[in-house]
């Protein structure tokens, strides 16, 4: 689908957490590539490793709890995992920026929105006071907070949740990053607000020609916004394809079942498909497929051998031994 070089490439990334001598395998070797001009949706259940993926790219994994066991994250070919903290800081904000699930936690309550934007652009872009002021106005206008100039002088607590999320987005894009990570940016918002934020992100991607990683647990949100989707389960990417292709044809039983389990008014009264059992505990380290204990298709091979993420036609990848078989679920 995309012939150019990726902006960010993650290869075989394994991240583990140690807590009270317990090991949690948060990422069990993930491969993923992000391109300019493309919104890459990452979908998975809670605890599947979405935020850890985002934090790994940002270089913000909590230390010393988290250990990177192996792998690489390259930004335009340059290895990020070997950068010093100082070098990383210049990447953050100016090249890669992030919008968090709870904007309230990441906005500084002691400064107005305008001050927070001005500080970013004076620091990273070397603008003077006057230029920074202009830039702040322009950005707030861009995210739909510009009309009356009120947001500029507002403290975060004076804004509604939708406005806070917009302010957070304005700060994130203030230094023209090439790549934006949005970790469940709409999960805490009402549906009517959610749609507005999704539209805004789409418009910004087009205008700024950014690459974007959009994280959500909600397949219908991903379908709305993403160009490409990767499905993550228990720290593994199990399937990846263009949005059109993935919703048309699934090559991993987990994705298929997940789609079948979404309530749809047309099937009112009919039973939903369910996925038996529970998500694999992060402390488990199975030899075979992470989905095997819940997979209705699991065979002996699945418990013995972990399936690799293999490319099939049209850039569709799947980590299932039986991806190409016509299963009936």
């Amino acid at each position: 689908m995309n012939t150019t070089e990726p902006i960010i490439t993650i290869e075989n990334l394994r991240v583990e957490f140690t807590q009270e001598r317990q090991k949690a395998f948060a990422l069990r070797g993930i491969d993923i590539a992000f391109y300019k001009d493309e919104i890459h949706g990452l979908v998975g259940e809670s605890g599947s490793g979405k935020t850890v993926t985002a934090m790994s790219i940002m270089g913000l994994l909590p230390k010393p709890a988290a250990t990177i066991l192996s792998g690489s994250i390259r930004y335009e070919g340059k290895e990020l995992l070997s950068l010093s903290e100082d070098a990383l800081r210049t990447y953050r904000g100016s090249k890669i920026a992030m919008v968090f699930q709870e904007p309230a936690k990441y906005l500084n309550p002691a400064f107005t929105v305008g001050e927070q934007i001005r500080e970013m652009v004076m620091l990273h872009k070397g603008l003077n006071k006057h230029q920074a002021e202009m830039r702040a106005r322009e950005l707030l206008g861009l995210v739909g907070l510009g009309k009356d100039g009120r947001a500029l002088g507002a403290y975060p607590h004076e804004l509604s949740s939708g406005m806070k999320q917009r302010a957070m987005i304005a700060i994130a894009i203030s230094c023209d990053p090439d790549f934006l990570i949005a970790d469940e940016p709409t999960t805490s918002l009402d549906v009517t607000l959610q749609l507005q934020i999704l539209k805004l992100l789409k418009i910004l991607k087009k205008m700024k020609r950014m690459g974007m990683l959009f994280i959500s647990h909600d397949l219908s949100v991903i379908r709305e916004i993403a160009d490409r989707v990767s499905v993550i389960y228990a720290g593994k990417i199990v399937e990846s394809a263009s949005v059109a292709r993935l919703f048309e044809h699934q090559m991993h039983p987990y994705t298929r079942l997940l789609l079948l389990s979404i309530p749809d008014a047309r099937h009112r009264g009919k039973k939903l498909a369910t996925i038996a059992g529970q998500v694999l505990d992060a402390t488990n380290d199975p030899q075979g497929c992470v989905f095997a204990p819940r997979c209705p298709l699991a065979k002996e091979l699945c418990y013995r051998e972990s399936p690799k993420l293999i490319a099939h036609e049209q850039g569709h990848t799947s980590a299932c031994h039986f991806a190409e078989e016509a299963w009936d679920l």
């Binding site: 739909g144 999704l198 539209k199 418009i203 949100v221 389990s261 309530p263 047309r266």
Partner: protein, 309 residues
């Protein structure tokens, strides 16, 4: 079959300090009327803070309404003395959103489920039999009754909470966002369970959610709540095919991927998502199809047009 629940002009004013620190009363539920048929599955949908939980608690007389009437099976709950009210309350139960906070962490599952039964004087043998049957119904092995809540997953806990709500053989169940805190792959299990027990025990549901897709899947009638008022209420198909209220239209238009997924409905939506500020007027368009013009929306008004060029 006749209505099991009738709400007439329910108003609920929260006294005390509001979030804005002001010390006046806040009208969280504003003149709400509707009825739920016996065995009905009535959906209540609306955004956060619009008054859904407040309304549910008022209907159950957990926080009695400031004014208005609730008739349960024809009996005005407001007219009952507390002892009689308690007997009526057994016939109605509520399941809340958060299964973590709704089970006592220091009590075994068996003890949590026993509480109500002990209160009505049921002996141990009968209790055990009943609890095992209920746990079985929700797919939890009776042998796990001696365990504590933290030993269960979120999905299992929600199933236990549902089992507990069933111990008093209620006829009416209020489900307040019962799956919102569950993972996608677990939600379907609980939804199926709720549909099964409804059938098996001939229950009547008031199903509350902010997810209009889910409500449309579960319920035969849907009421849309906005700022304390029911702005539209109709049979599910009708609501989706033909939403009349502006807020309902916006809500449907906000479904990711569009409302097309739902019964192929076409909605005529205000293109920029903004809504007018029309004076309130409730009209009954046809039988059972009530619609109001109220929106008067403020705050997070969609504002993409202004600054995005």
């Amino acid at each position: 079959m006749g209505p099991l629940i009738q709400c007439r002009n329910i108003v609920k004013i929260h006294r005390g300090r509001g979030i804005d620190g002001a010390k006046r009363g806040f009208k969280a539920v504003d003149d709400v009327s509707f009825s739920i048929e016996k065995n009905g599955n009535f959906g209540l949908v609306g955004e956060s803070g619009c008054g859904k939980t407040t309304l549910a608690r008022a209907i159950l007389y957990l926080d009695p309404p400031t004014s208005g009437k609730v008739l349960f099976d024809g009996v005005d709950l407001g007219s009952l003395r507390s002892r009689h009210l308690r007997a009526f309350r057994r016939r109605m139960q509520i399941v809340f959103q958060d299964p973590h906070s709704s089970l006592d962490p220091r009590m075994t599952i068996y003890d949590s489920l026993s509480e109500g039964l002990v209160n009505i004087g049921m002996d141990r043998a009968a209790r055990t039999k009943k609890i095992n049957r209920l746990l079985d119904l929700v797919g939890i092995s009776g042998a796990m009754g001696s365990r504590f809540p933290h030993e269960f997953s979120t999905g299992q806990r929600q199933r236990i909470v549902i089992a507990r709500a069933l111990t008093m053989d209620p006829e009416f169940l209020v489900l307040d966002e019962p799956v919102s805190n569950l993972d996608v792959s677990i939600q379907a299990q609980v939804i199926n369970l709720l549909l099964d027990i409804k059938e098996e025990l001939s229950l009547t549901y008031l199903f509350i959610s902010h997810d209009i897709n889910l409500v449309a899947y579960m319920c035969d009638t849907v009421a849309v709540m906005y700022k304390g008022k029911i702005v539209e209420q109709e049979p599910t198909e009708e609501l989706f095919a033909n939403p009349r209220n502006e807020y309902t239209q916006t809500l449907l238009a906000s479904i990711p991927g569009g409302a097309g997924r739902i019964s192929g409905a076409s909605t005529n939506i205000a293109k920029d998502g903004t809504m007018g500020n029309t004076a309130s007027a409730v009209r009954e368009l046809s039988k059972g199809h009530v619609v109001s013009n109220t929106t008067g929306r403020t705050g997070d008004k969609p504002d993409l047009t202004g600054g995005t060029r």
